[in-house]
C-alpha cells in the first residue's frame, strides 16, 4: 500500500522560503494566506547557540483529527493517505481548524477551508510537490514510505528524525530530519 510522506532535512533547510512561493504559484494560494511556511527556532545564549530551520505544512496525519472532526466529509483521506479538503463539500464551519493541533489551515476567501494537499494533482502525474521540486537545498523529499527504494524511506532508515507534537498521537507523515 502506498503511504505518501515528506521529509524535511533541518541540516540543509536554510528557510529561504522558495517552497512557500512555489506553493503559492502552483496552488494559486490567495494573498495573505499560505499552505507552507518556514520556522526558525533559536536556542542557547551568545555565543553558544543553535538554530533549528525547517519548512512546515500539513502533517497529513494517519490519524487526522480534522478528518474526524469534519461533519460533512469534506476533509478526507485520498490516495496514499494524503489528507485533502473537498471545497464542494466544505461548509466553512471551521471544526477542522479547531481540531488541527498544527494550525495548518486557513479560510479561503471563496468560503472553504484550504491547506496543503502534497500537490496531489502533481503526485498523480508522477511529479513531486512544487515545494520539493523548487527546493534549492534539496532539504525536502517526497515519496512512498512503504517503498524501500524511496528517498523518504531511506532517509528515515538512516537519519535521526522527529515529528511535531507526537503527544497528540496523530501519526504525522511529515518528518523532520535532525
Amino acid at each position: 500500500m502506498t503511504r505518501y510522506a515528506m521529509t524535511v532535512d533541518q541540516k540543509l533547510c536554510v528557510t529561504c522560503n522558495a517552497c512557500v512561493i512555489a506553493c503559492k504559484n502552483e496552488n494559486q494560494v490567495p494573498e495573505g494566506a499560505a499552505r507552507c511556511w518556514t520556522v526558525q527556532v533559536e536556542k542557547g545564549s551568545f555565543p553558544l547557540l543553535s538554530l533549528e530551520t525547517r519548512s512546515e505544512r500539513c502533517n497529513h496525519c494517519e490519524n487526522a483529527p480534522c478528518v474526524t472532526a469534519c461533519p460533512t466529509g469534506a476533509s478526507h483521506y485520498e490516495d496514499g493517505g494524503i489528507v485533502v479538503v473537498n471545497p464542494d463539500k466544505c461548509v466553512g464551519c471551521k471544526a477542522c481548524i479547531v481540531a488541527c493541533p498544527y494550525e495548518v489551515r486557513y479560510m479561503h476567501p471563496e468560503g472553504y477551508v484550504d491547506k496543503c494537499t502534497f500537490c496531489i494533482h502533481r503526485v498523480r502525474e508522477g511529479l513531486a510537490p512544487a515545494c520539493v521540486t523548487v527546493c534549492p537545498t534539496k532539504a525536502l523529499k517526497f515519496g512512498d514510505l512503504d517503498d524501500p527504494r524511496s528517498e523518504v524511506h531511506q532517509e528515515l532508515q538512516t537519519r535521526q528524525h522527529k515529528v511535531l507534537k507526537p503527544e497528540e498521537d496523530t501519526r504525522p507523515r511529515l518528518f523532520f530530519l535532525t
Partner: protein, 733 residues
C-alpha cells in the same frame, strides 16, 4: 535648446502627477493570475525557457504560460546554474511581471507654470528628446562627460551606445559597492578574479571557511545548492561573522569576530599554517612568488596577537586553521561577494587569496576550479571608437574601471567643466539606494544637465530623471546571450514568454533606437534581436532552434582541474604573487596588512547590513509576491543590549547615525544571534517614494545611514561598515 529646468525636484509617477495620463495603477491589480479551480492541474499553452533577472546570477527558468499570462516559474532542469531549482526571488518573478506599479509609458519631465510634472509621451518624442539632450551635452563637454550606470545583462547594449558616442565613463555598483576589491585582490595574487559565478568547487570541498559570507540568506541559487551538497556529504564549515547567520548555524565552528578585524584572523591562520608546517609545501614551492617575505611578515601574527584584535580565542584560531589544513587541497576560504566593508578590502581579499594558496587549492578538486566558457562569435559590427578616457580621472592606482561613487563627485564639480560629468544614462540601477549616502547621490543628480533612466519600475532614481523609458521585464524580452564561465561551458537565451506590457520596450530596442536618433545606427547593424542572436549562433555553428526549445546549450566539458605540479598564472611573475610588486610600485603595501577599525563612540553601534533570501536590494521591495513573505526589514540587536536600553522585541525604533542622519521606524529583532557592539539590517528597505504602493516606508534604509565611506586605496571601493548608529523608541506622530 530644451526648455530650461531650474533644479529638478523629485517627481512621483502616479495618476495625479501625470498630465492627461491614465491612472497608472487602474485595472492592473487583476493582472496577477486569478485562482484556478482548487488543485486542478493547469495545462500550460506553452512553457518558455529563458533566464532570470530577479538577481544577476542568470539561472535558467521555465515560464509556464496560459492565455498569455505567466502563472508559474520553475528552474530549468537543463540549465547548469539552476538544475531544475530556483531561489525564492526567481520563483516570485511573477510579482515583477505583474507589479501594478510598473512603468508603462515613456515620461518626460516638463513644467506647467511653477510646477514640474511628468508628461506621458510617445516613444518617438521620448527618444528624439533624449538624443537631442545627449548630443547637446556631448557637443558642449565631450562624450566623457556622459556617464552610464549599468546593472544587469541588458546593460551591454547601452555600453555599446555610449562607446559609439565616444564615451567611456561606464560604472557599475557591482564594482565599487560590491565585489570589486575581491576581484582586484585575486587579480593581484593569481592574475585572475574569481568571477561571477565564483570558480569555487564547493560540492567537492571537505572544509569551507566563510568570512562574512551569509549564503542561505544571500541566495544565489547555484551557490546555495552547492553549499547544501557539501553539507549533505559532511563537509566541515567554519563561519566567521559577528552574527550567528544561517550558515553559521550549519557550521561546526562559529567565530563571532569583532567587526573589521578579519584580516588579523587571516594573517593568524597563515601564521599557524606556516609555523606549524601545515601548508601545501610542494604547491607553494612550485607556484608562489614571495613566500619568504610573506612568512617573515606573518611571523609575529600569532593567534595570541590576533586574539587582542578579533576577540577570538587563540585555541579556536589554531583549531580552525588546522581543520582547513587537514582537508587541503579540498578546502578553501570563501572569497565572499559583497566585500566593501572597511576600506582595506583589497588587502583582506589578498589575504584570503594567499591563505588559499597555502592550502594549495588552485585548480584542485574541492578548491578553485578552472572555469570554462562557450566561445560564441560576436555579431560583425564596426569597431567602436577608443574614447579619450573616463571621468572622473583615475585616482586609484590599480583600479580597472572608474568608480560609481566618484561619478557622483564629478557630477557636482560646479565651475570645473573639464572634470565634470554632465549627464547620466541609468540602466536598471536605483542609484540613490545602491550607492552609499542617498542624500549625496540626490544632490549629484540635481546638479546634472540631463538624466535618462531605463527601468521597469518607478524608483528613487526615476524620480530625479528628465526622461523615464519603460523597459520590458526579463519575461517579455530578448537579451544578449549568456556565456557565464562555469564548470561546464554553456550558452543560454533570454526570450519573451509573454507579450510586452503597456508600451514597454526591450532594452536592445531602446539602445538601438537611440543610436539611430544619434546617427550611430551603424554600430547596431542588425535588424532586431532575433537577427542579432541568430547570426551569432549561426557563425558559431549552434542551433537557434535548439536554444529556443531548451533555453540552454551545454558544450563539451574540458578538464576543470590542473594536476600538474607547476601551473602558469597571468601575473607579471607568472606565479601566485604573495609579494606584489605591482602594489609596491604603486606605493601600496606589497604584503597584506591589517588595519584596526575605528571604534564606535559611546552609545553607538556599528551598522552592518546584508541580505534577505527573498529580496534583491531595493529591486524587489515592491514585488507583491516577495513582499508578502518578507514585508519589511528588522533591526537585529543583542538581547543584553536591548535589556540595557529597555527595548523589547517588536518595538519600533528610529536610527540616527554619527552625522545626525535618521531613518526608520524599523522593528527590533532582539536576539542572541549578534554581538553587542553592532546592529544589523537587511538592505533595500526604507523606500521613500509613495509611487511604490506596497514598498513605501517599510523598515529602514542603510543606504541613507552610510554617510561615511572609507575608500579602498587600491581600487576605490567604498567601505561601508564604518558608520555608527544610535537608536531611540519611535513615537507615532
Amino acid at each position: 535648446m530644451a526648455p530650461a529646468m531650474n533644479r529638478r525636484t523629485f517627481l512621483k509617477i502616479s495618476g495625479t502627477t501625470v498630465i492627461g495620463g491614465l491612472a497608472a495603477s487602474a485595472g492592473l491589480v487583476s493582472l496577477m493570475p486569478k485562482a484556478q479551480a482548487n488543485d486542478v492541474r493547469v495545462t500550460p499553452d506553452r512553457v518558455v525557457p529563458t533566464f532570470c533577472e530577479l538577481c544577476f546570477w542568470k539561472c535558467g527558468v521555465l515560464a509556464y504560460v496560459k492565455n498569455d499570462k505567466v502563472y508559474k516559474l520553475e528552474g530549468n532542469p537543463k540549465h547548469p546554474l539552476s538544475n531544475g531549482k530556483l531561489c525564492p526571488r526567481g520563483t516570485g518573478g511573477l510579482g515583477a511581471l505583474y507589479d501594478p506599479d510598473r512603468l508603462r509609458r515613456p515620461l518626460i519631465r516638463t513644467r506647467v507654470g511653477e510646477e514640474e510634472k511628468w508628461k506621458e509621451v510617445s516613444w518617438e518624442e521620448a527618444l528624439d528628446f533624449t538624443a537631442k539632450r545627449l548630443n547637446e551635452v556631448k557637443a558642449k563637454f565631450g562624450p566623457e562627460s556622459i556617464a552610464l550606470f549599468s546593472h544587469g545583462h541588458g546593460g551591454a547594449f547601452f555600453k555599446t551606445l555610449l562607446k559609439a558616442m565616444g564615451g567611456t565613463t561606464i560604472v557599475a555598483p557591482s564594482n565599487d559597492q560590491c565585489r570589486g576589491p575581491r576581484e582586484s585582490g585575486f587579480e593581484l595574487t593569481y592574475g585572475v578574479g574569481v568571477g561571477s559565478v565564483e570558480n569555487i568547487d564547493t560540492p567537492h570541498a571537505r572544509c569551507i571557511a566563510f568570512i562574512g559570507s551569509h549564503l542561505g540568506e544571500n541566495m544565489h541559487n547555484t551557490a546555495v545548492q552547492e553549499v547544501s551538497a557539501a553539507a549533505a556529504h559532511g563537509a566541515t564549515f567554519i563561519t566567521v561573522d559577528p552574527r550567528f547567520s544561517i550558515i553559521a548555524s550549519k557550521s561546526k565552528y562559529w567565530l563571532p569576530i569583532k567587526p573589521g578585524t578579519d584580516t588579523a584572523l587571516l594573517l593568524a591562520w597563515a601564521n599557524v599554517l606556516i609555523e606549524e608546517g601545515r601548508y601545501q609545501k610542494e604547491f607553494v614551492q612550485n607556484n608562489v612568488e614571495g613566500f619568504a617575505e610573506f612568512a617573515a611578515h606573518v611571523k609575529d601574527k600569532t593567534p595570541e596577537w590576533a586574539y587582542i584584535e578579533t576577540g577570538l580565542e587563540p585555541s579556536l584560531i589554531r583549531e580552525t586553521a588546522r581543520e582547513l589544513a587537514k582537508n587541503a587541497p579540498a578546502a578553501f576560504v570563501h572569497p565572499g561577494r559583497h566585500v566593501v566593508w572597511y576600506g582595506n578590502d583589497t588587502q583582506r581579499s589578498r589575504a584570503i587569496a594567499i591563505v588559499n594558496a597555502l592550502l594549495g587549492n588552485w585548480g584542485k578538486k574541492g578548491g578553485f576550479y578552472l572555469p570554462q566558457s562557450l566561445n560564441v562569435a560576436a555579431y560583425p559590427s564596426p569597431a567602436l571608437p577608443h574614447g579619450a578616457g573616463f571621468k572622473p580621472r583615475q585616482t586609484f592606482p590599480l583600479a580597472t574601471s572608474p568608480c560609481a561613487y566618484d561619478v557622483c563627485d564629478a557630477s557636482m564639480k560646479q565651475g570645473d567643466d573639464a572634470a565634470r560629468v554632465h549627464a547620466w544614462i541609468v540602466y536598471g540601477c536605483n542609484v540613490p539606494l545602491t550607492l552609499p549616502n542617498t542624500a549625496r547621490t540626490i544632490e549629484a543628480m540635481k546638479a546634472l544637465d540631463f538624466v535618462v533612466a531605463i527601468d521597469t519600475m518607478p524608483s528613487e532614481v526615476t524620480g530625479y530623471a528628465d526622461v523615464v523609458l519603460p523597459e520590458n521585464t526579463y519575461l517579455e524580452r530578448y537579451d544578449d546571450l549568456d556565456t557565464t564561465p562555469f564548470r561546464v561551458p554553456y550558452v543560454a537565451i533570454r526570450q519573451p514568454a509573454v507579450p510586452s506590457y503597456g508600451e514597454t520596450k526591450p532594452g536592445w530596442w531602446i539602445a538601438k533606437s537611440l543610436a539611430e536618433k544619434l546617427g550611430l545606427g551603424g554600430f547596431f547593424p542588425w535588424k532586431d534581436a532575433r537577427d542579432y542572436l541568430a547570426t551569432r549562433l549561426e557563425k558559431s555553428k549552434l542551433s537557434f532552434a535548439d536554444l529556443e526549445r531548451d533555453g540552454v546549450i551545454v558544450g563539451n566539458a574540458a578538464p576543470i582541474y590542473d594536476d600538474s605540479p607547476t601551473q602558469t598564472f597571468k601575473t607579471p611573475s607568472k606565479k601566485i604573487e604573495f609579494y606584489s610588486k605591482a602594489m609596491a610600485d604603486a606605493g601600496l603595501p606589497p604584503l597584506p596588512n591589517y588595519e584596526a577599525p575605528e571604534e564606535p563612540p559611546p552609545g553607538y553601534f556599528r551598522l552592518l547590513f546584508g541580505r534577505s533570501p527573498v529580496h534583491t536590494f531595493s529591486r524587489t521591495t515592491n514585488n507583491p509576491r516577495l513582499l508578502e513573505i518578507v514585508p519589511e526589514n528588522e533591526l537585529w540587536i543583542n538581547s543584553e543590549m536591548a535589556r540595557v536600553l529597555g527595548l523589547k522585541a517588536g518595538t519600533r525604533v528610529m536610527l540616527e547615525n554619527q552625522d545626525s542622519v535618521k531613518t526608520g521606524p524599523i522593528k527590533l529583532k532582539v536576539t542572541d544571534r549578534i554581538r553587542q557592539d553592532c546592529v544589523y539590517m537587511v538592505h533595500g528597505f526604507g523606500r521613500e517614494d509613495s509611487r511604490l504602493s506596497r514598498g513605501y516606508r517599510r523598515g529602514a534604509s542603510d543606504a541613507r545611514l552610510v554617510t561615511r565611506v572609507k575608500r579602498d586605496p587600491v581600487m576605490g571601493g567604498t567601505g561601508m561598515n564604518v558608520n555608527f548608529v544610535t537608536l531611540y523608541r519611535w513615537k507615532e506622530a
